[in-house]
Symmetry: C2
Subunit: 407 residues, 2 copies
């Protein structure tokens, strides 16, 4: 499999994808950060999506599930600052109004436009502002504006999250790009957020959906920032075929499925690293559990433990909390022969071996935990199940950010 990262690439790196974004003051912002974005394909695209499992899903999610049934779409309108969630029938009407306007201005048919919203729950969508944004953006859609769109969808995110890759297939080169936003209310399933993956490969919707669901299981569904599953989580994958390249062989299919996973994991790591208030990216690798399911439970439980996350913030190698989190994960897990290593660019320290705490160097542990990216490896010698989860530490700033989010 031959692929490479496209420097500075995002959702408009693949052929035939345009974007645009403007500031409409949904929330007053001195820096006039854009808050409405449009992502558009110049030709029809197959689409796949994964949505939140929260019972109180937002209006855009309800609408999105309907559109997804057709497996075809051309565009997405996204706003930040208001989630259009817990807004009842009015929220659906508002989402449909935005959708209808975009379809009209883009010259598309009915239900060819998805909408997405992120921000405060329970307040009516400022629909006039969003529609005004759409009116401004449509005439200036461009292949240069992917990064503006990535900026527009941010809420409490500190950095834009976008990337793109180029992949060689038997019939030629395709591109795949992505943008996403976190950064609180992120927990499996699924782990966030708004995330958009575009490609110019030619792939049918049902195949796309299988690949996306599998990739989501390895990435966003293994991501936790705060244990709160959002009402708005949406992950889209849209393929417009503009490269003219199809998935002809089994190798092509495997390579494309893999690149979808790569880009989803890339996005999930960026979201974890930029979790609200986070000062550490935390990756947890669980090995040799009875089943993959057990390994997933263990990895996510450790990555999501408030106590361990505080310890990471405090640069304290408190491995007892790691094991406690494994123990209450619900997995079939036996501590008798457990090993645990904490690793970073500064080195690694084995804190538990064959079921017992080791006499490790606290000084080295502190050094290891000083790095931004921390990996915890646990191994249980019970079977062949393994999994990886993504998270971050729990800090003063998480509390600060969420103590006055609405104000």
């Amino acid at each position: 499999m031959k692929y490479r990262l496209i420097e500075g690439g995002g959702v408009t790196a693949p052929k035939g994808w345009l974007a645009g974004a403007v500031y409409t003051a949904i929330k007053k912002r001195e820096n006039r950060k854009p808050d409405v974005a449009v992502l558009y394909s110049e030709q029809p695209a197959s689409c796949a999506a994964c949505f939140t499992t929260n019972k109180f899903c937002a209006a855009p999610v309800i609408l999105g599930r309907e559109i997804l049934k057709k497996g075809k779409a051309r565009a997405v309108v996204i706003n930040s600052g208001n989630a259009n969630a817990a807004t009842g029938e009015q929220g659906i009407q508002d989402a449909k109004a935005v959708q209808a306007l975009a379809e009209e201005l883009l010259g598309l048919g009915k239900d060819e436009v998805f909408v997405s919203s992120t921000g405060v729950i329970g307040q009516r969508l400022p629909v006039e502002k969003v529609m005004d944004g759409v009116r401004q953006i449509v005439p200036m859609l461009s292949a240069d504006k992917g990064s503006d769109a990535a900026w527009a969808i941010m809420t409490t995110d500190l950095v834009r999250k976008e990337c793109a890759y180029e992949l060689e297939l038997s019939g030629g080169t395709i591109r795949i790009g992505a943008m996403c936003k976190g950064s609180g209310m992120i927990h499996p399933n699924m782990a966030t957020l708004l995330s958009y993956v575009t490609t110019d490969a030619k792939v049918e919707a049902d195949e796309l959906q299988k690949m996306l669901s599998a990739a989501c299981d390895k990435s966003f569904n293994m991501l936790t920032v705060d244990g709160d599953t959002s009402t708005n989580d949406s992950l889209f994958l849209m393929a417009n075929g503009a490269s003219g390249v199809e998935l002809k062989t089994e190798e092509d299919k495997e390579a494309f499925a893999k690149i979808v996973e790569v880009i989803c994991v890339d996005m999930a790591r960026r979201i974890a690293a930029d979790g609200e208030g986070a000062t550490h990216l935390l990756e947890v690798e669980a090995y040799e559990l009875p089943t993959e399911h057990d390994a997933r439970l263990v990895a996510r439980s450790i990555a999501g433990s408030n106590l361990f996350k505080c310890a990471v913030f405090g640069r304290d190698a408190n491995w007892g909390r790691i094991m406690a989190a494994a123990g209450y994960s619900g997995a079939d897990v036996d501590p008798t022969h457990a090993d645990c290593i904490i690793r970073s660019a500064a080195g690694e320290v084995q804190v538990m071996e064959d079921g017992f705490g080791t006499d490790f160097s606290e000084e080295l542990a502190k050094k290891v935990l000083t790095e931004h990216d921390i990996t915890v490896v646990v191994r249980f010698h019970q079977g062949e199940g393994s999994a990886k989860a993504f998270g971050c530490d729990l800090t003063y700033d998480y509390v600060k950010i969420n103590g006055d989010y609405r104000s």
Copy 2:
């Protein structure tokens, strides 16, 4: 049912119960807070207990489950500062050594003494210190020292947690007393902690167990401080019959079961109010769900939501987060006609009515949330299931306390 609170009462308020505590420097403490306690009954006692469901349970829990099979015991040795968890076979041996010494010094038979430990996970129990503590305490056991024991078992708790009640039964008056400690690593099931309930009523072990399990379901299993289920959670109920009063009638049994629930809820509320870093006690009442199970899921999910807990800390009536937490609780919950009220001694504010956010006064909401004790009431109009959960807010101090707990 006639009962009254005994002012200043605790585990030694019931007849025939003695206690004692000393400082043995398991952790160095300038104020020489006691860290080993013994609780002792002058006569044999029936016993019941509920233990943690964490797979990596601590040595005292493993030992306790064995003792419980007999349904009889006379004493408990408790230490704070070290959890004797993740300590393997050595931990079991250490726990047994403490047990054996206490049995010898108290003149008891084999397996008549429980042990409990709370504190850091993964470090060997300083068994000589604990045994030294037992040697000092046994000669000075007294009915006046219940409060010393309640102090000794504290870790990051800020206040002692103890209470006692007197209850009139058909055959006379009985007493029931309790002490417990939180305050982090508290989450269902079960919700903490170390908790000891003593009584001088005469009740058989199997009946005690039924009553305790039912009470635990209404109290400690509905309590969440941080989502982390401890390795050491233990709740004991011991009845020595020293009052000579039995449960003769159905009314007696109901009244006694009720007082067990009252004392467990009392303890659970105290733990929530003293949650690590907490500035608010949070009670969540969920009504009119399809089943009680659904109501329990909803109430606990709201009480445990990091995002909502931060909002409470910030005195922000962010009801969207309440509804989001209900939505991801796993319960069969429908937001269409949901009502939500936030209430305190300062008044109440209805933030959601019949599925929609209301135009409530932010000023009043702020005032309501300024009080220490906050109650959130959600009502779904779907059925007759109701439940109540106990929690606290998430604050800077929670992060601070757990960022350097070991040091």
